[in-house]
Symmetry: C2
Subunit: 321 residues, 2 copies
């Protein structure tokens, strides 16, 4: 382990921009660790961001997320695009475990210099996904990724959070998992821009597709001009359905640009990111407030009856900025 | 119900200071409701606070808290002191229920103009006890109470919070409830300044007293000059032990003043109160941040790559003050 002092932020940022996977990895580790130098990192990265297309990919365990990701990477690489893969584990404070398996399944691309693969833990105490993921995306964006795939297990609220981070959200299902009906309950219908029924060679695939299409048609998405999420079939293990999937993603991209939707989603993503950083910063400063003297001073005024607790709180807040 | 607009804060504060129980009750209702006019109320009350002695009273259900409170009120009233009673229910977001019974047991004092009785819910979403109780204490303090008894059921962390609010904390136990041993586990030994074994006419009272004294002697409180919490016996229903209890409370008060401990506790109490208000205020302002234009403006800069999310968060924070 190198010590903290060894990190030369400008050099690291320069190396990451030049395409060093090692530098990219180290910068994302700074994000994971909520390193205080992130401020400097993000300032250096800012002018080089905003190019990457972010595609979220979510689904229950077992639907074939990593295989589908791998297939997508093959297709995107064939187009000459640089691809970043961020596998976010919302359930664990530490990387590894389940994600190790994902990495193995992505082994096809592990030696491709045009592909970055990174798994990341979302540490609950820092605001989790909302805090860390956008910053990791910035790193990959500035490193020259044309497309970033954010893969997360669809558990709890994490898939909704990932949808909030992506330009396009791809929801994966598999036949015979009862996913069709559950999707409606879980709110997956609201977040999906493209639905994929993977393992479509299995029995029940057509029924799952039909169920999904029916549920989507029941939604509010049939008005003219609105995006109606397509439901595709893939067998990712055999790369079947890749072209249709890429085409659907292209159509969604074109639709977004047509309607100003991409700009709207990116503004919303940046707003959430800034909010999460501001909240985390305020929490940290309030934690330090006892050490900074302001609280002690205003408290003495309150005890003496010379000021009221609201006015004192106002002074504490002013002292935070 | 009178509408919000009818509340004339300066008049209400004046009436409360003149001793109107109705005005006191309405001000505490403003506290319970986290009314925005509390700022004005607290500013008006500030110069008139700091006189009341705050005694916390806690114990498990069934130990006789209300009967002991009633006995204490009798003793304090005999000394000519004005008494406020604040019964805080930490487990419920609404007043009533269990507290209704307390009010009935305090019926002896209900018509005494020198006694204010008030139960209060601690609403979790506002920071609970830490936010509301100190402000209710200010109201009673400014209304001329010489002593305020804060009564709370000893469940979870609430007794520790009440101890943080009080000048003196009185912990109540009863024989045969296994309280002696549990007290040590629950951390009650750390918060009690005076221990009372109530229902001391029951079997096992002496054993409970002995257990408690033993556990206290095991603590760190035997150094010279430190306060060693006395363990008293009462039968509150028959007013037995009242004089000894009042005397123990007096001794603790004298010890505190001797050591500057009262000033220290009050400063700590005010600091927690100011922190709780500041945090609640920051949370509320962050919630409003999307409406105030600053977030939208800085977010556009982030999307354009002209600023980084940390610098943007800094601007949002600056906009909060």
């Amino acid at each position: 382990m190198r010590s903290r002092r060894d990190v030369d932020v400008p050099a690291l940022v320069e190396q990451a921009r030049a395409g060093s996977p090692r530098a990219v990895a180290r910068l994302i580790t700074l994000v994971e660790n909520a390193d205080p130098r992130l401020r400097e990192v993000m300032a250096a990265l800012a002018p080089h961001t905003g190019q990457a297309r972010v595609i979220g990919l979510t689904g229950s365990p077992g639907v074939g997320k990593s295989t589908t990701t791998s297939m997508l990477v093959t297709g995107l690489r064939a187009r000459g695009l640089r691809v970043g893969i961020l596998a976010v584990d919302p359930s664990s404070p530490f990387s590894g475990g389940a994600l190790l398996g994902d990495r193995i399944r992505l082994a096809d691309h592990a030696l491709d210099p045009g592909v970055y693969i990174r798994s990341m833990a979302s540490r609950g105490h820092l605001g989790g996904l909302a805090w860390a993921t956008p910053q990791a995306l910035r790193v990959l964006d500035a490193a020259g990724c044309d497309v970033i795939l954010v893969e997360t297990v669809g558990v709890g609220q994490s898939e909704v959070e990932v949808a909030g981070l992506a330009d396009t959200t791809l929801v994966l299902l598999a036949p015979g998992m009862g996913d069709g009906v559950q999707a409606a309950k879980a709110g997956i219908l609201e977040i999906g821009d493209v639905f994929v029924v993977n393992k479509a060679d299995r029995e029940g695939a057509d029924a799952t597709v039909r169920d999904l299409r029916h549920m989507i048609s029941l939604g509010d998405r049939t008005e003219p001009g609105l995006w109606r999420p397509p439901v595709l079939k893939t067998v990712a293990e055999r790369r079947e359905g890749l072209e249709e999937l890429l085409e659907a993603l292209d159509r969604h991209e074109a639709w977004m640009d047509d309607r100003g939707e991409r700009a709207r989603r990116r503004a919303e993503r940046a707003a959430r990111e800034v909010e999460a950083i501001a909240l985390s910063e305020l929490r940290s400063r309030m934690g330090d407030v006892r050490g900074n003297g302001v609280l002690q001073r205003v408290t003495a005024e309150v005890v003496a009856g010379r000021t009221d607790p609201y006015a004192a709180a106002e002074q504490v807040i002013a002292g935070l900025t």
